[in-house]
């Protein structure tokens, strides 16, 4: 696409979406082109990539084991060996920051993925078939939405004996699916009434084929946007639950349980270098993801001219 001479011309696809030369591009290419014009979103992609690389390459940047405790080095300030000092168990804060970022990102990504799977499957079934099945699914979302997400997740956390990372992701996904399900179902309801669906059905396409070949590609834009924003929500949810002590337990580092150290007034007061970096990690990551999500929304739906 880079060698495409059309790129050079300052033609704005938003103002003239039906221009002749646009016809050769797929909607996805059009969206990509609009996304590449969004500076905030591009900068955010760049920043997010840096954060991801820092976390993946954690062993390159630090030799210290994030889980190794050292009772002789508790709550120490920054030094040459421990750039960000050590925490209440003598673990190195800098290596915990990098390795913790890994866990926070993985938890956010996988929680988003499983929520997406549940949401797409249930939303597709409800929105496509309608009737009783749809009614049951919608009443289930009503019930799930009766309690705040956090209260529901906490109650389930309390029921489960020992929280592991996999279990944690499962609990978050099982409590967070209703919103996405509703969004996807709503989109399908309007898609269902369109002529091309009738056409597909008339030539004998199976339900499965209609959902996968016609519905999902048509709804892919909003699904991707919601999935992106959902990941930001999931990272915050993980950190919030870890902060109040119901998330992923020690010694595994996450940004959330690093910040929870600051519930100790001594650390809060004397060691800002221990709890501010993980907080900034969450803030910058979530901010970048949100900007990317907004950029994707504008790219997929040029009509939504969000001022």
């Amino acid at each position: 696409m880079q060698s495409n001479p059309q790129e050079i011309q300052p033609e704005n696809p938003e103002t003239n979406p039906n221009a002749n030369k646009e016809k050769s591009n797929s909607p996805f290419q059009l969206a990509l082109r609009r996304f590449l014009k969004n500076k905030m979103a591009l900068i955010s992609v760049f920043i997010l990539l840096i954060i991801i690389i820092l976390c993946i390459l954690a062993p390159v940047f630090t030799d210290l084991d994030p889980e190794k405790t050292n009772l002789l080095l508790i709550e120490k300030g920054p030094s040459e060996e421990h750039i960000l000092g050590t925490n209440g168990m003598g673990q190195d804060n800098f290596s915990r920051l990098l390795y913790g970022g890994r866990i926070s990102l993985i938890v956010g990504l996988s929680a988003m993925f499983f929520t997406l799977v549940i949401g797409v499957v249930l939303g597709s079934i409800g929105g496509y078939y309608g009737g009783i099945i749809d009614n049951i699914i919608m009443r289930a979302t009503d019930i799930m939405l009766m309690l705040p997400f956090l209260v529901l997740a906490l109650t389930i956390m309390a029921i489960v004996d020992k929280v592991t990372i996999g279990l944690f992701v499962a609990i978050i996904a099982l409590t967070a699916w209703p919103n996405l399900t509703r969004i996807i179902r709503g989109m399908y309801l309007s898609l269902r009434e369109q002529e091309f669906v009738l056409g597909a059905r008339a030539i004998g396409a199976s339900d499965f084929r209609i959902i996968f070949k016609h519905f999902i590609p048509n709804a892919i834009g909003p699904i991707i946007v919601n999935a992106t924003l959902m990941m930001a929500t999931m990272i915050i949810a993980e950190s919030a639950l870890s902060f109040i002590g119901f998330g992923i337990p020690q010694p595994t580092p996450t940004w959330g349980n690093m910040i929870s150290e600051a519930q100790n007034i001594r650390i809060l007061r004397n060691h800002p270098e221990a709890w501010i970096p993980p907080g900034l990690g969450i803030l910058v990551t979530v901010l970048a993801i949100n900007f990317i999500g907004d950029g994707l929304r504008d790219a997929f739906d040029p009509k939504s001219n969000r001022r």
Partner: protein
Amino acid sequence: MYKYIIRRILVFIPMLFILTIMVFGLAQLAPGDALTGQSLADPNVDPEVYEQQREALGLNDPIPVQYGRWISSVAQGDLGNSLVFNGRSVAELIESRFANTLYLGFFSLCITILVSIPIGIYSAKRPYSLLDYGATGFGFLGLAIPNFFFGLIAIYILSIKLGWFPAQGTMSAPGVTGFEAFIDRIHHMILPGITLGLAGTATYMRYMRSEVLDVLGSDYIRTARAKGMSDSSVLYKHTLRNALIPIITLMGFEIGVLLGGAVITEQVFQYPGLGTLFLSSVTNRDYPVVMAIAMILGILILIGNLLADIFYSIIDPRIRYD
């Protein structure tokens, strides 16, 4: 309209019933109870005594019987006794905490409304002005920062470094009464109130801005201008009335967000509200308290949604059920 309101209230009743079943079911799913959580760890307790105690507390009865007993006593206002706090009644435990959380929630909602709506209107009136950019930036930050992290930073800067606000609790001296005590309470609520309302403020500001911009672009506003109405009466008589409709609906749902956020915020500021009680009860497996608080939160959310729907139908006569 009245028909709609009555139907909406009728829907409320089965929802309430389902809520009680869900809360009870969640509590029943737990592997242990307060007795296993507390005394089984102690090997000195005779298993026979333990069994007797379970029997006496009714923990061995069939589940529907337990549910029936629970719901009928709840209906009479008796929320049972705490399994942990030496059998104090749950209602008594919750009472003072509940008031604290309500004060905090109300205070935070006031801050949210007073800040977000004027700024939202101003941003829409002067889009792309300095204040508009500032507000947009604040909106992005406010939605991205976890509220506990914001709370910790607020404590660190405003309370520890500058000493302007207290970091914890609801009042400084128990002896003070009257107006002074009121001011003291407010003083203690400012930091948690702002922290709790941060995300809501950011959301409302963005909504308000885009709603006002939408309405300002509509035909009837142009007509009003063409009639020669002044800018301010166009804004207050025509624009705001229409722009506030979605905000009010949003506010009904905000109750759930506020109460969920209160669990975290109260923990950060060690504010003695329902949230901190909920967390400690979840930790101790104090089921009666957990059930009661989850119920109260659920009921508040249901009422919030109900009020939002009713209010909505009053403001916007086009709304119909089904």
